[in-house]
């Protein structure tokens, strides 16, 4: 029982960071209808900016701000510099460009910072609070939960309550019609990329301290897990990303704890398949489109 409780809290803590990054993936999907395979690499680049600032100033929060700003700037750069010029009628082209960006960014970071791991600090203690012999969540985990919650709320506000959110979605779904309706489609795309990249950067800041450390490939595995989480939840749904992330975190923790850590990818696949076979558009899918 103690083991179960322990694994549950471990799973929730991990799940929260997956949720954070899954939210960034959901955001870009809603804003541009693409699965941004470069999101992980872009977020790592932002985390390096944070690393540079924190090393120079000694302040975690200045670094955090730098990651946010750097991430958003990179998002704008990628959209204005590259994505804007890819063919929108062929969605796979955008995927390939994103993969090209991954290679370029990772190689660039490798050239700038080398391949070794860099430590990334946390603003709060990661020591688990011990309750009755079971180590529960740490202050840092609580911070992560709060951050994820904040992002979800902001996203919900943006998309349901503001006209900018409506414009962003319209621009993503039907660029030409949106322009006819007076929506600045280019601007919306840029904004979407900036926000998504900013969210991704924040997620990276949350995730990387719980992983091996800062490294050009630091987000590779996180990307895969978070993408899986986002798909489980339904790519269109921010709450889905959170639920998907937590669910996946729990499954992986239990499987790792009871069956062995090598089984986790198989478990992730099984969990994903189980959800998708029951709900092909994820747990929080919107209503099914009418066919004819």
């Amino acid at each position: 029982m103690e083991r179960f409780a322990f694994l549950t809290f471990d799973g929730l803590a991990n799940g929260a960071v997956y949720s954070a990054f899954a939210l960034a993936l959901v955001l870009i999907w809603r804003a541009a209808r693409i699965v941004n395979f470069a999101q992980g690499a872009m977020a790592v680049a932002a985390a390096y900016a944070a690393y540079a600032v924190t090393s120079a100033t000694g302040s975690y929060w200045l670094g955090f701000a730098a990651a946010l700003a750097g991430g958003m700037a990179l998002g704008v750069l990628v959209e204005r510099g590259v994505m804007r010029f890819t063919s929108h009628s062929a969605p796979l082209n955008q995927v390939i460009v994103a993969l090209g960006l991954v290679l370029t960014i990772q190689a660039g970071l490798g050239m700038l910072y080398g391949n070794e791991f860099r430590p990334v600090g946390t603003p709060f203690s990661r020591d688990a609070i011990d309750v009755g012999g079971v180590p529960l969540l740490s202050q840092y985990d609580v911070f992560v939960f709060a951050a994820v919650l904040t992002i979800v709320l902001l996203l919900a506000l943006l998309f349901t309550k503001t006209s900018t959110g409506l414009r962003m979605r319209a621009a993503a779904f039907a660029p030409e019609v949106s322009r006819l309706l007076g929506v600045n489609v280019g601007g919306m795309l840029t904004l979407g990329w900036a926000l998504a990249a900013g969210a991704g950067a924040v997620a990276a800041m949350l995730v990387i301290p719980t992983e091996l450390g800062l490294h050009p490939h630091a987000m590779d595995l996180v990307f895969v897990t978070s993408f899986t989480a986002a798909v489980i939840g339904g790519l269109d749904s921010p709450p889905g990303a959170v639920v998907g992330g937590l669910l996946l975190g729990l499954v992986l923790s239990y499987v790792s704890g009871y069956l062995g850590s090598s089984v986790t990818p198989i478990a992730a696949f099984a969990a994903l398949l189980a959800v998708l076979l029951a709900r092909p558009q994820g747990l929080f899918a919107a209503s099914k489109a009418r066919q004819a």
Partner: protein
């Protein structure tokens, strides 16, 4: 003149689809364009709306040359297009589609209830996703959305497509009413020549990318054989 086309030529590739088009739409009038399939009517409206760049010629809206004006700025200047084949954003709800049509307008709530009054199926289904709607409901939504902008010049590409006769008649009388009361100008492309001509102040025939202007009386004779 709210709209003047001077020597407009445009197309998709090497061969032009529109050839040397001259056309004027006076303020507060309804001009209808008739013509066989593939004549270039849709292309004409898309070019005016800025979706297609003319190779030569000028488009004057309110006397201003539209060259270099971005598509997304036209609707605020008062020019709205209802595209052929509806262009409803199917992943948004009916209400979101309508809201999008008049986002920047202060009076959009009032306009929305007018649209709902006009197209009462839309009111019933205001929370439905666009992709759930029937063909005719989508067409109503596309027209209603354009009305949300309260345009001064409305470009309509086959608005009667898929609509019940009663609704078509309603729309035609609405256009007439808006022209008379609000000074709306309309450039109307229709296959349903009868209803189009019933409200048109002027009519032009288009074939193979060229216009042949005639009086609407002649057109009526030509198209309706009466």
């Amino acid at each position: 003149m709210i709209l003047q086309l001077e020597g407009l030529t445009a197309g998709y590739g090497a061969a032009p689809v529109l050839r040397d088009i001259h056309l004027e739409v006076p303020q507060g009038s309804i001009v209808t364009v008739l013509g066989p399939n593939g004549a270039g009517k849709t292309t004409l409206l898309r070019t005016i709306a800025g979706l297609l760049k003319p190779t030569t010629g000028r488009i004057l809206f309110d006397g201003d040359d539209l060259r270099g004006v971005r598509v997304e700025h036209l609707v605020r200047r008062g020019l709205a297009l209802v595209p052929e084949g509806r262009g409803v954003i199917t992943e948004l709800t009916v209400e979101e589609n309508l809201r999008l049509g008049g986002l920047w307008r202060k009076d959009s709530a009032a306009t929305m209830s007018e649209v709902y009054e006009l197209f009462e199926p839309l009111a019933r289904r205001n929370k439905s996703m666009g992709h759930q709607l029937s063909g005719g409901e989508r067409q109503m939504l596309a027209i209603g959305r354009a009305l949300m902008a309260r345009p001064r010049l409305l470009l309509l590409d086959e608005p009667s497509l898929g609509l019940a006769p009663k609704v078509t008649a309603q729309i035609m009388s609405l256009l007439r009413q808006l022209r008379d009361n609000d000074g709306l100008s309309v450039l109307l492309v229709e296959q349903n020549a009868r209803s189009a001509l019933s409200i048109a102040d002027a009519a032009v025939a288009m074939s193979l990318g060229r216009l042949a202007e005639t009086s609407s009386g002649d057109m009526r004779a030509a198209y309706l054989g009466s």
